[in-house]
């Protein structure tokens, strides 16, 4: 028996969300009295043994040239085979883009019940019950998995990373991937910026900024903080900002540690995309803006006066002249 955690990586580096998934898997393994083991598909740079600090005993790795691109069909077949090979009773994913594509397929292959969007460790007092986010973050459901093998996809930024002393044993796993039936013809990454879905800090702005020419201060604040930039739907629809920056019900749903909303009123559809943020700061000149009800900190004031002051204060804090 074991808990198997799929370790997602990009550009040779293990993703932060996988550190969370590893910590989650290690804590679950401890609770059910078994070992936690990781699985890496494809080549990575750096020593995987260091992943032992997250509480796993082994890292299984399949290195094969065909695994350079993520095809959910190919990956799911390998992960299901690996789960059987290591006698896994639970398979853990991060509920990120790759996890969302792969975990459902693994669930079918293993005929293992899936809970995606998990936000806390399973409750084992009466069955195997996982709490997950539903209604776009407006509620939680407690879902019981009724099958011998379980699949859980953990929401990003929902479970804290724990580290301890330790090294994992890296083991090559001899599995042969099937041929991919899709072909990636081009990849466009927005370089030099923090990807919104992975960002710890997000600075976002809305119609209150009046026009795309006023985004300079938003970008300046984001750069100072090492934050990603985001926007509300009307702003993306008006092409003031690119669509990939749109957060909300129909855009991207994010869960950063800090979300700063500038000149966004906080319509319910916008809140649905950001209400999993740990801390929400709202800057709006309208004291009646609904966003203040969902905020932790707020300033009622004109963004064009307030934001430059914040920038000055952050510079001072960081010792930047």
């Amino acid at each position: 028996m074991s808990v198997l955690i799929y370790i997602d990586h990009a550009d040779g580096q293990v993703k932060k969300v996988s550190h969370e998934a590893l910590s989650y898997g290690a804590a679950l393994a401890k609770a059910i009295g078994t070992t936690a083991e990781g699985l890496v598909l494809g080549k990575t740079s750096g020593d995987l043994a260091v992943l032992g600090i997250y509480g796993i005993t082994k890292v299984h790795q399949v290195t094969h040239a065909n695994l350079d691109q993520v095809d959910a069909q190919v990956f799911a077949a390998l992960i299901a085979d690996a789960a059987i090979a290591v006698n896994a009773s639970v398979v853990i994913f991060s509920n990120n883009i790759n996890g969302k594509a792969i975990a459902p397929r693994v669930s079918v292959r293993l005929k293992a019940g899936l809970v995606s969007g998990a936000v806390s460790l399973p409750d084992l007092t009466n069955g195997f019950v996982v709490r997950k986010s539903v209604f776009s973050g407006k509620a939680f459901a407690r879902v019981e998995i009724n099958t011998p093998i379980k699949v859980i996809a953990v929401n990003p930024n929902a479970y804290p990373v724990h580290t301890l002393e330790g090294q994992a044993e890296v083991v090559a796993l001899d599995l042969q991937p099937r041929d991919s039936r899709i072909k990636v013809t081009a990849t466009n990454k927005i370089s030099g910026k923090v990807p919104l879905s992975e960002a710890d800090l997000v600075v976002s702005a809305g119609r209150g900024l009046k026009g795309p020419e006023n985004w300079g201060m938003v970008e300046e604040l984001a750069e100072l903080l090492g934050a990603a930039t985001a926007c509300s739907r009307p702003v993306a629809d008006a092409h003031w900002r690119p669509h990939h920056e749109h957060v909300g019900q129909t855009g991207l749903a994010i869960a950063p540690n800090l979300y700063i909303a500038i000149g966004i009123s906080g319509a319910i559809q916008h809140l649905a995309g950001v209400n999993r943020s740990k801390v929400i700061v709202v800057i709006n000149k309208d004291p009646e803006a609904p966003f203040f009800k969902a905020a932790d900190y707020g300033i009622v004031g004109d963004a064009f006066e307030v934001v430059p002051k914040i920038i000055t204060a952050v510079r001072k804090l960081k010792g930047i002249a």
């Binding site: 005929k111 209604f135 459901a141 009724n146 991919s180 990454k189 649905a272 300033i299 204060a313």
Partner: protein, 247 residues
């Protein structure tokens, strides 16, 4: 070419979220039901656009649900679907739902199955992937554009921090999101013709429920906003740094 579009019934995006029966059921009183926005705005509208370009394309809709889902299926037909299939059962286990859709998809030999990226109620984002596995087909998730030429699909999809372009031969399962198409409103002709379009009701096939919902809960209420004076933005930065430890 035959396209199957999955259509889920969800509460309106502004619906009040509350629960009844000892927090085991969603409170449906006064709730307006809509087509899951991702299914409608992106998957369905893109399928209709493909049909407008090539009249030989037929667009079928599938819903797994009770008779109360028929108004939203009629709306989907009014938008331009040719035929709707309702699998007469209810459930909230994604494996059970995907099994029903997979059976219809296999029987109907569809070239393309489109789903929304997730439903706005259960946020599982798992039906598309499960369906693809059950049908042994490739799955392209989070697609922002889709073109078909002969038997080849060209799809753009979101990846972390960017997008990638993919070529794949049909048949294929694609989950759709923003960028794929623009929302439409059915016109009077569509609404009239939808009344006479076929809406077939089929009985479910045997399939297991691998999960079951025990209960729901609402998040704890926020402590309330801590307001800082507009003249003292430095205090906000101090609070974020020292109290919230955000940076």
């Amino acid at each position: 070419m035959k396209i199957l579009v999955s259509i889920s019934k969800t509460p309106d995006t502004t619906a009040k979220i509350a629960f009844t029966d000892n927090n085991t059921k969603f409170a449906t009183d006064g709730v307006q039901w809509i087509i899951n926005p991702y299914d409608e705005w992106y998957a369905l509208v893109r399928a209709i656009e493909l049909k407008e370009k090539d009249p030989s394309v037929s667009v079928h809709l599938i819903n797994v649900g009770g008779a109360d889902a028929e108004p939203i299926l009629r709306k989907a037909l009014a938008l331009g679907g040719d035929e709707a299939i309702r699998v007469n059962t209810e459930g909230n286990d994604s494996y059970y739902i995907a099994s029903q859709i997979a059976f219809v998809a296999k029987e109907g030999t569809y070239d393309l199955v489109l789903t929304g990226k997730e439903t706005i109620d259960f946020n599982g984002s798992s039906i598309g992937g499960m369906l693809a596995e059950m049908l042994d087909l490739p799955f392209v998730s989070l697609a922002t554009s889709l073109e078909i030429s002969g038997i080849t699909a060209t799809v753009k999809r979101e990846i972390e921090g960017g997008e990638e372009s993919i070529h794949a031969d049909l048949p294929l399962v694609v989950s759709c999101q923003k960028g794929m198409a623009e929302a439409r409103i059915p016109n009077m002709r569509g609404i009239m013709s939808a009344r006479t379009k076929p809406l077939k009701v089929v009985e479910p096939v045997a399939a297991e429920n691998l999960t079951s919902i025990k209960s729901f809960e609402l998040p704890p209420a926020k402590a309330g906003v801590k307001l800082v004076s507009a003249d003292d933005a430095g205090e906000l930065v101090r609070l974020l740094h020292e109290e919230a430890k955000s940076f």
